[in-house]
């Protein structure tokens, strides 16, 4: 599984990246976590509000920070 956190580098986006890493550590899933800060690449996902989470090229959340619990739910589905 390939998880990307989209964000231009603000505090919220960093928090989100942290939460994603915690969630991945919790559920024992084979996953890479990457932070995408390049605005051109972020726009390719059609996201207008950051932070956003992309799992296997699919935007699953945008515009708000998900909690660890919510991310766990997303990646175990």
């Amino acid at each position: 599984m390939e998880i990307k956190v989209l964000g231009t580098g603000c505090a919220k986006c960093k928090t989100q990246e942290q939460y994603v890493k915690e969630a991945v550590a919790q559920v024992n899933v084979e996953a890479t976590v990457e932070k995408e800060e390049d605005i051109m690449k972020i726009m390719q996902y059609g996201v207008m509000a950051t932070p956003a989470i992309v799992i296997d090229n699919e935007v699953v959340s945008k515009g708000r920070v998900l909690s660890v619990k919510e991310i766990v739910k997303l990646i175990t589905q």
Partner: protein
């Protein structure tokens, strides 16, 4: 990919079960907060003057009273307002606004729409660039995008809660109303100036490939009850994230309240000095201060003799325009456009300041 996003919207419906009791809990919470809000003055009187046995005329007594009363009042207001804005956002997110602006013939009302939604969406400076690009990509005129961009940092839940708590209803209405109006007029004028040539090269390319995204905004199938926990959680998150700024801002305000003499600022910033407003605004533009931190200080200025118009103009310049924002905008536009944008808004804020000093 569009389809995927729409589908993904439904993935995020975290029904955590047992939400039958949720509406009751929310109602109870709101009633409880309202009661607390209503009895707060008496409660703080008792706390400061009886429990701590401070004199209501002493400096320390006044400062302590101001600090506790205003902090609690503002936090309650902030929580409630964030909740209301959260509900609006859940039903009308910015993606939907974009589709709406694209598909409907609005006869100029699009400026008002964009400006109004700039006011109700929570502003995060790091979101302004993706948003700007998103609008350009969707073929929305630059002027309409500017209308959103002007109002978004200016009118937000924190500013509204702080203004309500410290200046009352009338001043809040004036602040929010003029902020939205400024977005409309500013956006309209900037749109008329044909500034597209000053966008960055890569943004121009996006603009040339712009497509009106006509697809209907796919309604999420989550029920209101399912969403409420998330909305409440986010409102609480906003309160928590500005808590420190509110406390520090009000603490500074409280100290100034007790110790700065009456009419201290009048000598420098009174209405009869024509340069007071421009000076306050120009001084404030490069400054960036957290809204929560700046309003309590402004309130002290006003209490000590600075005209409200000058104070509002100062505040607008501090939160609406800043150097960090300029550097962000520099990524999507050439410096000429950043300068025109900042110049226009600065001018508007100065004019507003004069206007308020005359009519208020």
């Amino acid at each position: 990919m569009k389809k995927k996003i729409a589908r993904a919207g439904r993935v995020i419906s975290f029904s955590e079960g047992n939400h039958r009791s949720f509406p009751i809990m929310i109602t109870l919470l709101v009633i409880l907060l309202s009661i607390l809000y209503h009895y707060l003055p008496g409660l703080i009187d008792w706390f400061a003057y009886d429990l701590l046995s401070l004199s209501s005329t002493s400096h320390i007594g006044k400062s302590i009273h101001f600090f506790f009363y205003d902090t609690i009042k503002i936090l309650i207001l902030l929580f409630l307002i964030s909740g209301v804005m959260g509900v609006v956002n859940a039903y009308f997110p910015v993606d939907r606004l974009r589709v709406f602006l694209n598909t409907k013939e609005l006869y100029g009302l699009e400026y008002l729409m964009a400006s109004f939604f700039g006011a109700v969406t929570p502003f995060c400076s790091c979101s302004s660039i993706p948003l700007f690009i998103g609008f350009v990509k969707g073929g929305i005129p630059l002027g309409v995008t500017f209308a959103y961009l002007i109002t978004s940092p200016l009118v937000n839940e924190v500013a509204v809660a702080m203004f309500l708590g410290l200046f009352g209803f009338k001043a809040t209405l004036i602040y929010a109303g003029s902020g939205i109006l400024m977005g409309v007029i500013g956006g309209f004028l900037l749109g008329k100036m044909k500034l597209d040539r000053f966008l960055s090269e890569w943004v121009k390319q996006i603009q040339n490939n712009a497509m009106a995204e006509n697809e209907l905004w796919s309604e999420e199938n989550t029920t209101f009850i399912d969403r409420l926990p998330i909305i409440i959680k986010e409102a609480w998150g906003i309160v928590r994230s500005v808590l420190l700024y509110v406390v520090v801002g009000i603490a500074i305000g409280a100290v100034m309240h007790g110790y700065v003499p009456e009419n201290f600022f009048t000598a420098y910033l009174s209405t009869d000095k024509w340069y007071a407003v421009p000076l306050a605004v120009i001084f404030a533009v490069p400054m960036y201060a957290n809204t929560a931190g700046i309003v309590p200080v402004i309130q002290v200025f006003v209490a000590k003799g600075v005209p409200l118009g000058t104070a509002i103009a100062f505040m607008m310049a501090v939160v609406g325009l800043s150097l960090p924002e300029a550097t962000l905008l520099k990524k999507v536009m050439q410096w000429q456009l950043v300068a025109i944008f900042f110049g226009t808004i600065t001018l508007f804020i100065i004019l507003l300041g004069f206007l308020f000093n005359v009519i208020l």
